[in-house]
Symmetry: C2
């Protein structure tokens, strides 16, 4: 497993975006509904709905738009701003990963790997 960064952007006292909300937005874009998106991520409809309501009320523009009715209880999709939000978050991940590469590589090299520990035990037991 290569080392990787996980990022949360705190924007206000109770307002943040991070990998969970971004995965949920990706799933809404893919499935076209909040309930399907929640289900795809093993999340209750209530939890998915609350996260999206939280996003919609955090920003000046809506992130997800919903339509009522239909057999599945209506559809949902990302607004243009919602698409921009996901794009910006992915850019933040990419830029942060690139800018921190040498330090993260140092940490990865400093790890005790499973192989290294086994070799050490072998040497010690001879």
């Amino acid at each position: 497993m290569p080392p990787r960064l996980t990022l949360r952007v705190d924007l206000g006292p109770r307002q943040s975006i991070g990998p969970g909300k971004m995965r949920l937005l990706d799933a809404v874009a893919e499935t076209g509904s909040i309930s399907s998106a929640g289900r795809a991520l093993g999340m209750s409809y209530r939890r998915a709905w609350m996260l999206i309501d939280d996003l919609n009320s955090s920003f000046r523009r809506k992130v997800v738009s919903t339509t009522l009715g239909g057999r599945e209880g209506g559809g949902a999709k990302l607004t243009p701003f919602g698409q921009e939000l996901v794009k910006r978050y992915r850019a933040i991940e990419a830029n942060a990963t690139k800018a921190t590469r040498s330090h993260v590589a140092f940490l990865a090299r400093s790890m005790r790997s499973a192989g290294a520990s086994a070799a050490k035990r072998t040497r010690l037991s001879r």
Copy 2:
């Protein structure tokens, strides 16, 4: 509150470093003991000890060294590698923050501020 990044570096399947462990290491450096460090962060001794044991076993070199004995049950301090680890994590935070500034500023500008919502409500109610 200015926007800010919170970072976790995943180094292996169950090995990561993030703000919690780094705060604990800072507190060990300041207080000279694991129990005092835990207490300063509102954490049980057991929890603090487990986090440090986890760090010590994740890397090739020890992060915290302990001495037995004394009234307080021994002391603890960061090893040179532990100091380097904290320095590298702080550098990762600083570099990531700098590299993502424009995108994070965009997100901050897109927020619905408390003031803006109040103004909107006032306008609507007239």
